[in-house]
Amino acid sequence: MDFTYSSEQIALQETLQRFIERDYGFERRRELARSDLGFSAEAWAQYAELGLLSLPFPEEFGGLGGNAVDLMLVMQWVGRGLLLEPFLSTVVMGGGLIRDAGSPSLKGELLPRIGAGEIKLALACYEAEGRYDLSQVACAAAPSGSGWRLTGVKTVVLDAPSADYFLVSARAGVGVGVGAGVGAGAHDARGISLFLVDRAAPGVTLLTYPTQSGGRAADLRLEDVTVEANSLIGAPGQGLALVERAVDRGIAALCAEAVGIMAALNEATLNYLKTRKQFGVPIGKFQALQHRMADMLIAAEQARSMAIIAAVHGDSDDPLERRRAVSGAKAYIGQAARSVGQEAVQLHGAMGVVDDVIVSHYFKRLTMIDLSLGNADFHLARFSDMLV
């Protein structure tokens, strides 16, 4: 048991804090959210220079060999700074998946380029009517020559508009010894394979849109998209476990992001309580507000503890240990973030519901974090079902 951070981890946090203070102020962030790209290409290059984009990769692929706690710390600052760059999709989920399951040659090809900021990835794992069910896969992969031909639609693919490659779950065709495939039922956990799809491949089209919290996403349409045999990641029919693991990591990262936001929101709210005067006194003198602020602090501290659990156990090789940790944390933090976010808005009064105060942006991001990769209800059910 150890709750201390290494000197490298402390330095990492200081670096991120300086970067946000200097280069990523609230006004700058608002401009970026409204820009065509939706984030800062310069910032992305800076992340590469700082080593953030290669943080979790092995040293043999140009990475820093960072661990889950390192990622947790980065994500806390992603939250505080409301950073818009596709770190979660490219490095945590996409890059992490390639690192776990890519062939040596694929890792050698992609990981250094991710680390250098040259390419971005997006995980295309959800479909219409599947809600948060990763095994709901109607997208089909039929054998085609030595490779595959993909057809289907993936919905609300985070960070898709800027991605160079998509990691796509699809049902591989029957009759080729890859387990249950097309026609096996869209919910069947078997028969799902994972493919790397080049954004520039013929037949790939995107319907792009901004998200409620300033990011970008898209629906991804694949129409007879032909990919090479080596685009299959991992063993045929074994893709679901890979996607689940990537999503588990993403959940742990979102939990950390939410913790960073809750800390920032609590600081902002506390500052407001101390400076806003009504009835001749700072409103923080009113016990009705003091106790709510105390509740917000408690919720944020408990959430921080859950994010640590999610980071550490969410990196386990044991899928049940992972699921218990990340679903538990996501359910808990979804609830805590909802409460902290709503209270922060309420305690800010009308200042909480306008666009040009950061509070509303934190609140919206917290809300969308809950709705990403499984909301509190979804994860509470998963956690709860593990009790039987």
Partner: protein, 403 residues
């Protein structure tokens, strides 16, 4: 950051477990596990067994006869204690009074009282609250007036937990009415056998006798029983309350209660299947389990920070107290709820160790059922004692948030 126990800590846990397995008397274990009434004799016997092993006060430093264990070791000990069903030791003596004595008492007091706590010779109760002084503790009025070589104490204390067993009571008394109320309070050690002391029981809502009121009528207390300086008692009292609140996180006991709750919910039937399979009930268990998972880490974070920064516990223990008390209450509530209609019978005799259920009753009324409703009622106290939840939020507001 690492959430794994080291091999040394795992070995330590195994050693603690082995000791409990070998030395915890079966009759005491059976009572604790089934929520039967424990007698003072049970607790004293257990204290002596622990002390023989050198574990009479695992939270004390070695120079006072403690183990000198770090916070992780203490946490492991407490988890194993609760899990196996060993009774709680007297927290008033070991965890509240003792740190005050170690920090503020003179060496004569330390040398006399601390070994007697370790050996189980002295049972201490707390004399803080008064009928007119609850959350506003500093308004207390029990007076101590110097008269030659002793104080003359007059007044009334209340809510004295296990005061009926006590050999001694540590009291906050008023020695001055000058200045702010906090400035005239002293910390006094009083022998319960002193003439002029009357103890009256207060029945609690579960029908049990746990708390008392204690009257002081011209009680003579030797001057050497004053701890620290006269009129500085409020400082010592706050120090003590901080220690009290940490213990109230009660992680080990909550883990045990959660395990129990799942066992009960797996055994109780609802609509032809175990209650645990009813997602509506199971989700309630899941929610409290998540709170507990978080609190366990929050608790360790606070304790570890304290250990590494070599400072005393601060107002952050209020966070632990608020959450810990709520979780205890929720677990007790769910255990009772799990019983359904079997939560209704009130069988006082069923809390005795030798009670045997009538076969007709035993057909549906499980051995774990008798104490559960009473425990739910009883544990409503946890968000009230040791500084109510509202007081804890005041402390957080003032001392952490600076409001």
């Amino acid at each position: 950051v690492d959430l794994k126990y080291t091999p040394e800590e795992e070995a330590f846990r195994a050693a603690v477990r082995a000791f409990f397995e070998a030395e915890l008397p079966a009759d005491i274990r059976a009572k604790t596990r089934l929520g039967k009434r424990l007698q003072k004799e049970d607790l004293m016997r257990w204290q002596k067994i622990l002390q023989r092993r050198g574990w009479g006060a695992v939270m004390w430093p070695e120079r006072f006869g403690g183990t000198g264990w770090n916070v992780i070791q203490q946490h492991i000990f407490e988890e194993e204690r609760a899990d196996i069903g060993a009774p709680l030791q007297n927290a008033f003596s070991l965890k509240m009074l003792a740190p005050v004595l170690m920090t503020f008492a003179n060496s004569a007091q330390q040398e006399y009282f601390l070994p007697r706590i370790l050996s189980g010779e002295d049972w201490w109760c707390q004399g803080y609250s008064e009928p007119g002084s609850g959350s506003d503790l500093a308004s207390l009025r029990t007076s101590a007036v110097r008269q030659g070589d002793h104080y003359l104490v007059n007044g009334q204390k209340t809510w004295n937990t296990f005061g009926q067993y006590a050999d001694w009571i540590f009291c906050l008394v008023r020695t001055s009415t000058e200045g702010r109320p906090q400035q005239g309070i002293s910390f006094l050690l009083i022998d319960m056998k002193s003439p002029g002391i009357t103890v009256r029981p207060i029945a609690m809502l579960d029908g049990e006798h746990e708390i008392n009121e204690i009257w002081f009528d011209n009680v003579q207390v030797p001057l050497q029983n004053l701890v620290g300086d006269e009129n500085k008692g409020w400082t010592y009292a706050k120090f003590l309350l901080t220690h009290e609140r940490t213990n109230n996180a009660g992680i080990g006991a909550c883990k045990r209660a959660l395990k129990r709750l799942k066992e009960i919910a797996a055994e109780q039937m609802s609509d032809g299947r175990p209650l645990l399979e009813d997602s509506r009930f199971r989700d309630r268990i899941a929610r409290v389990e998540l709170e507990l998972m978080a609190l366990e880490i929050t608790n360790l974070r606070v304790l570890s920070a304290t250990a590494s920064e070599v400072r005393t516990l601060g107002p952050e223990v209020s966070v632990l107290k608020i959450k810990g008390s709520e979780i205890q209450q929720t677990l007790a509530e769910l255990q009772m709820q799990a019983l359904g209609p079997d939560a209704l019978p009130y069988l006082r005799e069923a809390l005795e160790a030798d009670w045997i259920a009538d076969p007709l009753l035993a057909a549906h009324y499980r051995p774990y059922a008798p104490p559960l409703s009473g425990q739910y009622f009883n544990l409503r106290k946890t968000t009230i004692y040791a500084g109510s939840t509202e007081i804890q939020k005041n402390i957080i507001s003032q001392l952490i948030l600076g409001l």
